[in-house]
């Protein structure tokens, strides 16, 4: 069919792929590249489970065509730890019990990372507002906010 050459840099690794235009970036990450950390919750931009970071900005990867991501640098949840050390956000979610089933967690962590890189010292109200595009059906959010606030502190002190 009409496949297009697409070059993606995902977590530092380059992938040169041939992709049908209708494939979303999320489907490409999960099915073609095999990085299944990013989740498909709603497929309509509402839940944030598919959040990845492109060129420093958090986006919902279910709404982006892979062909539109050509040439871009993408970070997924798989790219956050370094040398076997968890990212402070990952550590925070473990320590504060920020997840139950865990389906929403990659999206929350990626959205939080991009936000904290921009605004390292938010108030709790600002953080809640900034994470409004991420939905969790298990935790009731309190533990998630605690996890991100404590990670923000750890990141500021690092």
């Amino acid at each position: 069919m009409n496949k297009h050459p697409v070059s993606l840099t995902v977590n530092g690794d380059q992938y040169d792929l041939l992709i049908e235009p209708r494939k979303t970036l999320l489907a490409t990450l999960r099915d073609t590249i095999g990085l299944t950390g990013s989740k498909e919750g709603c497929s309509t931009g509402d839940c944030g489970a598919c959040t990845v970071i492109i060129d420093g900005k958090a986006i919902t990867s279910c709404l982006m065509l892979a062909v539109s991501a050509n040439g871009k640098e993408i970070t997924t949840i798989e790219g956050l730890s370094s040398n076997g050390h968890l990212h402070p956000l990952q550590q925070g979610f473990i320590e504060k019990g920020g997840y139950q089933c865990g389906f929403c967690t990659p999206g929350f962590i990626m959205a939080s990372k991009a936000y904290l890189d921009e605004i390292p010292n938010p108030t709790e109200a600002e953080l809640r507002h900034a994470l409004g595009g991420n939905i969790c059906r298990c935790t009731g959010y309190t533990k998630i906010i605690e996890a991100v606030m404590s990670a923000a502190e750890a990141m500021r002190n690092a």
Partner: protein, 289 residues
């Protein structure tokens, strides 16, 4: 999603020619937050998708004291919401942009897409109405300019001809003694469509309120100006509580909302009045400070 041919033109002329050539079967792709949703739901089944991403000059904000503000059609909502000049001088636009979806959505969603989609509830539309936006439209045949109040023709439709593309929005300079605000009535704080959206803008002249603009979203088949209410605010000095109340009633009367699952027409009409009163008052306060 049905498969389609994907084009990435690098000039407006090229994009326009493709759009005209495949008229009816092609769609422009900006951020995709309306179009891809539609394609997944199969309410949109284009055979050709034309990305605007690789056309230089469509993305960006420029400001000049003399000529005013220019916002390229591909400018993201997040950029509008965080731009210092827009927050200061074109505040209603920053506030309208900030109301769209989530941060993740606003990193994708463009101003051109919000207006091109022509939803009556588009959060940036009321701000464009009250800030006197001029819509720059390009095609293979050249450029034309349409004032924002003449752009929308109905839910999802505009005066754009086959092959025409919105390239930018231009706004006249706003003096320091002007102010504006956009307020949205919703249930969830984030990620909710407007039940009602109202923007107001004013300029002060020796303490008198002039050039009042009031824009209403989600209460008529297109975003509209509440011209009766604008006239009332401009006519009386000072703008007392009673005058604000009169203007609020006039704006309610000029709205033509529908009842749906989300709320009733009566509720929407009442909220138009409340938000008109609040946004005009805030616009005046901001103009004074």
């Amino acid at each position: 999603m049905r498969n389609f041919e994907f084009f990435e033109p690098t000039t407006v002329e090229e994009a326009s020619s493709l759009l005209a050539q495949y008229n009816g079967k092609a769609r422009l792709l900006a951020g995709g937050t309306d179009l891809i949703i539609g394609m997944k739901a199969r309410t949109e089944m284009p055979e050709y998708v034309i990305s605007l991403e690789n056309i230089p000059g469509l993305d960006g904000i420029t400001y000049d004291e003399g000529s005013g503000l220019r916002v390229g059609a591909m400018t993201k909502m997040r950029a509008l919401e965080t731009d210092a000049i827009i927050r200061d001088r074109y505040t209603a636009l920053a506030e309208g942009a900030a109301e769209v979806g989530s941060i993740q959505i606003r990193h994708l969603a463009t101003l051109g897409g919000n207006i091109g989609h022509a939803s009556p509830a588009a959060d940036a539309a009321a701000a464009l109405l009250v800030l006197d936006a001029q819509v720059q439209i390009g095609s293979a045949d050249g450029q034309r300019t349409v004032p924002i109040d003449a752009l929308f023709t109905g839910p999802g439709t505009t005066v754009l001809e086959p092959g025409e593309i919105i390239t930018a929005f231009e706004f006249p300079p706003r003096p320091a003694n002007s102010g504006s605000q956009y307020l949205k009535q919703k249930i969830r704080e984030v990620m909710d469509l407007a039940f009602v959206g109202v923007a107001s803008a004013v300029t002060l002249n020796d303490g008198a309120v002039e050039n009042t603009r009031i824009g209403l979203a989600a209460v008529a088949p297109t975003p509209i100006r509440a011209t009766e209410a604008e006239g009332i605010i401009n006519r009386y000095h000072p703008v007392t509580k009673e005058i604000l109340e009169q203007a609020a009633e006039a704006a309610s009367a000029q709205s033509r909302p529908i009842s749906d699952l989300r709320c009733s027409a009566e509720y929407r009409r009442q909220i138009v009045g409340v938000l008109t009163r609040r946004t005009v008052q805030t616009a005046i306060n901001r103009a004074q400070s």
